[in-house]
Amino acid sequence: MSDIVLKVESLSKNYQMGEVVVKALENVSFEAYKGEFIVILGPSGSGKSTLLNIMGGMDTPSNGQVYFNGELITAMSDKELTMYRRNKIGFVFQFYNLMSTLTARENVELASEICSDPIDIDDVLNSVGLLERTDHFPSQMSGGEQQRVAIARAVAKNPEILLCDEPTGALDFETGISILRVLKEVNKKYKDTVIVITHNAAISQMADKVIKMRSGKIIEIIKNKNPIAPERIEW
C-alpha cells in the first residue's frame, strides 16, 4: 500500500452567504493509497460532502490542491474534470439516484458504455449479488437492492476511486451492513480505493483509515491496524 492515489493538500472552500463567509473546508490535507478503505467521519455540516465533491471533480476549492496519481485535478478544466469523473471515479449516493426508466442492468450499462476500460457487467452484478434481478426497474426494487445497483454502476466503470456519500444513510441496519459488505468485497476484488463518508461512527471500524472531521477541519486521522469485517459491525 505504498502508491498514493489521491493527495489532498491544504484544501479550503469558502461560500459567500450575503456578507458572511462560510468556511466549509479549512486547510484539509491527507493522502489516500491504492486499495485503501477510508471512512470520513463527521456530523452533518462538517464539510465531508464538500470534500467528497472536490475529490470527485464535481466542485472546485477556494484554495489548495488535489492530486490524482500525481496529476493536479484542481487545475483541470470542466472538460478534463468530466473525463476524470468518467474514467477514474465511481460515485455512490445516499439516495441511489438510479435512472427510473432503465432496468438494473441498463443502469449499469449506461455507465460502462462511456468509459474506456469497463469491467464485465455480469461479473459486477454477480459481485453485488444482483444477477437475478437485473431486468427489474428501480421502482420494483427495495432500497438495498437499488443501492447495490448503484454500487455496480460505479464499479463497472473500473474506477480507481469509489466515492460513497452516506451509502447506508437511507437503509435499515441489516441492509446497511450488506451494502458495506459489498463495498468491502469490491474494494478487495477490484483493488479500488474506497472512500465512504458517513456520520455513523460504527462504520469506521471496518476502515483502514478513519478521517474525523468537524466544522470543516480534520481533527484526527486514525490508522486502523485491525479493521473488522462489516458483518461484525453493530450500531
Binding site: M58, F91, N97, R153
Partner: protein, 774 residues
C-alpha cells in the same frame, strides 16, 4: 442501442400525451405549409410552363381596324420578336332555347398553327378549314358541346353554321371571363371559339382588316417602352386598348390567385409552428427541471454537457422528424387535391401534380430545425445544473404572497381552493400566459373563420342588392343615342330605366396606372349607391389605394376611343366597394369630356318581365346580365369556401385543444406530489379536477377576451392580404361571428379538460408520495 437512447424512448413513452400533442401541432403547421406552398409552387410552375410552351403574347393591342401589313412591319422594331394580327369579335350564339342570351368571342386563327398564343388541342384536330370551329374547353364542358356538333353564330347580322372539329385550351383564357365587370368565370354564358382567319375576314364585314394584334418581345424588361411605342405608332389605326401581359385579364387573375396562395403559405403555418416551438421549449425546460437530479447523476458519472444536451435534443428532434414527415406527406397528398380544385377554375391542359422529393425533405428539415432550436432554448438550463447540488433536494419554491392578497376585502372573501388557484397562476406565470395566448389565438382564428364565412355572403349581397340595384344590365354593341332607352319602355314593363356608359380607361396618377371600367351614371341614379356630382370622378377605395390618390387629386384618364381626347379629372369621392374596381362619373360630364353629347352604350333596367327573353331578338344588344344570374354563380362558388372554412375551424380548435390539454397534463405530472398530498388529506379527484379547471378557466377567459381584439387585427390583416382587384374585404366584424367563435373555443377547451380528467383519476397518489427517484 445506447442506454441513453433507451432512456429517451421510455421518456417519450411516459410523456406520450404531451409528445403526441406537440407532434400534432407540428404536423398541422407543416402540413398546411406544404399543402399550400406545394399548390402554389405547382400552380406557378405549370402556369409558367404553359405560358412558355404556348408562347403567350406580351402585349395585346386592340384597334378599330388594322391592315395586314402591320404584322410584318412591327417585327424587329422596339424589341419586338413576333407579332400576329387577328380578328376578334363578340357575337351572339344562336340557341334553340329562346330565353338564353349567350355571347361568344370569335377569334381568328391560322390554318395549322399560330406562332403566338398557341392552342392546346384537348380533342379533335388543330388544322382548320372554312366552316370549322374550335371551341374552348371550359365552354364546351359547360354547354356539353362535343366534336362534330354544329354551332350557329350570328356574325355581321347573318347566321353561320360551323362544325366543331376541335376542343382546345388557350393560355389567354386560363381563367375565362368576358371582361373585368363579370367578376367571376361563367363558362356557360361566355365562351371563346376559333375560326379560320381568311374565312372569318370574309364573313365579318371588316374589309379583310384585323382588329387586334398580339406582340411577342425579345425580353420583357422594356415592355413599358414597347407599349408606349405601340400606342403612339398605331394611333392612326384607332387604338382602343394596349394591354400588357400582366394586365391581361386571365393572366392577372391566375397570378393573383397563386400569389394569394403563396401569401397564405407564409402566414397561417407560422402561427402553428411558432406555437409548436414555444410549447416544445416549455415542455423540455420542464422535463429538464424535473430531471435535475438525473442530469446531475449523468454529469457525476462522467457524461459531458454535450452528450447530455444531445440526449435531450434527440427528444426534440424526433418530434421534428416525425412531425415533418407526417406533415409533409399529408401536405403533399393534400396539395394534389388542392391543385385539382384549382383545376376546376383554371383551364390549364398540362397541369400536372409533381412529386417533389426535395420539397418534402425541405419541410422535414424546416420542422427539424424549428424543433432543435426550440429544444435548445428549452434545455439550456442543463448547463447550469451542478452535479453536486443536484443531489440535494431542491429548495422549496418560495411561497411569496401575491399582490391580490394585499387587497384584503377581496382576498378574505375567497375560499381556500380559490386562494390556491390564484397563487398557482401567479407563481407559474409563463405556463398560464402560454395557455392564455393559445386560447386567444384559437379564439381569434375562429373569429376570422366565421367572419370570412359571413363576409363572402355579405360582400355579394351588399354588392348586388345594396350597391348595385339594377335587375338587368343591358349592353349595346355600339354607342347609341340616349333616347334609345325609351324604346325599351315600349317593349318592357319597366319600373326604372337609365342610360349608362361603361367604358375602359387607363387611369394614370404619376407613375401608377391601371386600366379600369369607368361607369357614367345619371345624376341621382337609382341603380347605384353612389351620388355622382356634376363634375369629377368617384373611385373605389382599392383603386384609389392602388393609384395612391386622395380626394382632390387630379388624375389623367386616357381614352381608348379612337380620335377622342384624354383628360384630367378631379377625384371627388372615394367609396368602399366590396367587389370590383371602378370609377364613376356623371354621364353628361363623361360624355362632354371623352365622348359625344347624349350617347349611351347600355341601359340599367328594373323590371318584373323576363328581360333576357324579350330582348333576345332585339338588334344592337351585346349582353344582358341579370342579378339572379350573378347570385346563382356565387352559390356554386361557395361550395369550395365551405370546405376551407371547415378545415380552418378544425385547425384553430386543434391548436387550443392541444395546448390546453398538454399544459394541463404537464401540470398534473409536475404537481403529482401536491395532488397526492391533497388526496391523502381527503380531497376527491373531482375537487382536484375543479381546481385545475378553475386555473385554466381564468386563463381561458383572459385568452378569449384578448382573442377578440386579436381577431380584429387578424381580420384587418387578412383584408389587406387578400384584397385583390376583385374583392375588397372591408366588412366589419359582427357580434354573432364573435359569439360563435367563443362558443367553439369553449367547446374545444371543455373537450381538452375532459380528457385530462382521466389522468387525474388514474393518478396513483401513494406512489407519487413515495417516489424520490427520477
Amino acid at each position: 442501442m445506447k442506454k441513453l437512447d433507451k432512456r429517451l424512448l421510455r421518456m417519450i413513452k411516459i410523456t406520450k400525451g404531451q409528445y403526441i400533442a406537440v407532434v400534432l401541432i407540428i404536423v398541422t403547421g407543416i402540413f398546411i405549409f406544404t399543402a399550400v406552398k406545394n399548390s402554389a409552387l405547382n400552380l406557378r410552375d405549370t402556369v409558367n410552363d404553359y405560358y412558355d410552351s404556348a408562347n403567350f403574347g406580351d402585349i395585346f393591342v386592340s384597334a378599330v381596324s388594322l391592315p395586314e401589313k402591320i404584322e410584318k412591319e412591327l417585327i424587329g422594331v422596339q424589341n419586338i420578336s413576333g407579332s400576329e394580327a387577328r380578328l376578334v369579335l363578340d357575337v351572339p350564339l344562336i340557341l334553340d332555347k329562346e330565353n338564353e342570351n349567350v355571347n361568344v368571342r370569335v377569334v381568328s386563327i391560322d390554318k395549322s398553327e399560330n406562332k403566338i398564343n398557341k392552342l392546346f388541342i384537348n380533342e379533335g384536330k388543330r388544322n382548320i378549314s372554312e366552316k370549322n370551329i374550335i371551341v374552348i374547353k371550359q365552354f364546351a364542358d359547360a354547354r356539353k358541346i362535343k366534336l362534330h356538333d354544329e354551332i350557329k353564330l350570328k356574325i355581321n347580322g347573318r347566321q353561320h353554321t360551323f362544325n366543331v372539329t376541335g376542343i382546345a385550351s388557350s393560355p389567354e383564357y386560363v381563367y375565362i371571363m368576358e371582361n373585368e365587370q363579370t367578376l367571376m368565370p361563367d363558362p356557360e354564358n361566355f365562351g371563346v371559339v376559333y375560326v379560320e382567319e381568311n374565312y372569318l375576314r370574309q364573313i365579318s364585314g371588316t374589309n379583310g382588316n384585323f382588329n387586334e394584334i398580339v406582340v411577342k418581345l425579345n425580353s420583357e424588361n422594356d415592355i413599358d417602352k414597347t407599349s408606349d411605342f405601340l400606342k403612339d405608332n398605331l394611333d392612326k389605326y384607332g387604338i382602343k386598348r394596349v394591354v400588357k401581359k400582366d394586365e391581361q385579364l386571365s393572366f392577372g387573375m391566375v397570378d393573383q390567385e397563386v400569389e394569394g396562395l403563396e401569401k397564405m403559405s407564409q402566414s397561417v403555418p407560422i402561427i402553428f409552428l411558432t406555437f409548436a416551438g414555444i410549447m416544445l421549449a416549455n415542455m423540455l425546460s420542464r422535463i429538464v427541471k424535473k430531471d435535475r437530479t438525473s442530469i446531475g447523476v449523468l454529469k457525476a458519472l462522467g457524461f459531458t454537457n454535450y452528450e447530455i444536451i444531445v440526449h435531450y435534443l434527440k427528444y426534440a428532434s424526433t418530434i421534428g422528424i416525425i412531425g415533418g414527415i407526417i406533415g409533409s406527406l399529408i401536405g403533399t397528398a393534400l396539395s394534389s387535391m388542392m391543385t385539382s380544385v384549382y383545376l376546376q377554375y383554371f383551364n390549364i391542359p398540362m397541369l400536372s401534380i409533381k412529386f417533389y422529393f426535395s420539397r418534402i425533405l425541405a419541410a422535414i428539415l424546416l420542422s427539424l430545425l424549428l424543433c432543435m432550436a426550440a429544444g435548445l432554448f428549452g434545455i439550456r438550463g442543463i448547463l447550469k445544473i451542478n452535479p453536486a447540488e443536484s443531489m440535494q433536494a431542491e429548495a422549496p419554491k418560495q411561497g411569496k404572497r401575491i399582490f391580490l392578497e394585499s387587497i384584503k376585502f377581496i382576498w378574505n372573501k375567497l375560499s381556500f381552493s380559490w386562494k390556491m388557484v390564484l397563487r398557482n397562476i401567479f407563481r407559474e406565470k409563463k405556463k398560464f400566459l402560454l395557455i392564455a395566448a393559445a386560447v386567444s389565438i384559437t379564439c381569434s382564428m375562429l373569429i376570422m373563420t366565421f367572419w370570412m364565412n359571413d363576409i363572402i355572403d355579405v360582400m355579394f349581397n351588399k354588392h348586388y342588392t345594396e350597391f348595385m340595384k339594377m335587375q338587368y344590365n343591358v349592353g349595346f354593341t355600339s354607342f347609341l343615342d340616349e333616347n334609345t332607352k325609351n324604346e325599351f319602355s315600349e317593349i318592357l314593363n319597366v319600373n326604372d330605366i337609365e342610360g349608362r356608359v361603361e367604358l375602359p380607361f387607363e387611369i394614370v396618377n404619376g407613375s401608377k396606372s391601371k386600366i379600369v371600367t369607368v361607369i357614367g351614371l345619371e345624376k341621382n341614379t337609382v341603380f347605384y349607391d353612389v351620388n355622382v356630382a356634376d363634375e369629377g370622378i368617384i373611385l373605389s377605395s382599392n383603386l384609389a389605394d392602388y393609384l395612391n390618390v386622395r380626394i382632390g387629386d387630379k388624375i389623367l384618364l386616357k381614352n381608348f376611343m379612337p380620335d377622342k381626347d384624354d383628360g384630367y379629372v378631379i377625384v371627388k369621392e372615394i367609396i368602399n366597394q366590396s367587389l370590383g374596381i371602378n370609377g364613376y362619373m356623371n354621364i353628361d360630364y363623361m360624355n362632354k369630356l371623352f365622348l359625344d353629347k347624349d350617347i349611351i352604350n347600355g341601359v340599367y333596367i328594373n323590371s318584373l318581365d323576363d328581360v333576357s327573353k324579350i330582348l333576345d331578338n332585339v338588334d344592337n344588344i351585346s349582353s344582358i346580365q341579370s342579378q339572379s344570374d350573378m347570385k346563382g354563380m356565387f352559390e356554386q362558388f361557395t361550395g369550395m369556401i365551405a370546405i376551407s372554412i371547415g378545415s380552418m375551424i378544425i385547425f384553430s380548435g386543434l391548436l387550443g385543444f392541444v395546448i390546453v390539454y398538454s399544459m394541463t397534463l404537464m401540470s398534473i405530472n409536475e404537481r403529482a406530489l401536491e395532488f397526492s398530498a391533497l388526496r391523502v388529506m381527503g380531497f376527491t379527484t373531482k375537487e382536484i379536477f375543479y381546481m385545475l379547471i378553475k386555473e385554466n378557466s381564468i386563463m381561458s377567459f383572459i385568452g378569449i377576451v384578448l382573442g377578440i381584439p386579436l381577431g380584429k387585427i387578424l381580420i384587418d390583416y387578412m383584408g389587406k392580404m387578400f384584397s385583390t382587384d376583385i374583392y375588397t374585404m372591408k366588412e366589419p366584424l359582427t357580434a354573432p361571428e364573435v359569439i360563435w367563435a367563443i362558443i367553439f373555443t369553449i367547446a374545444f377547451l371543455i373537450l381538452a379538460q375532459l380528457i385530462t380528467y382521466v389522468k387525474i383519476y388514474k393518478l396513483d397518489f401513494m406512489q407519487s408520495l413515495k417516489s424520490r427517484i427520477s
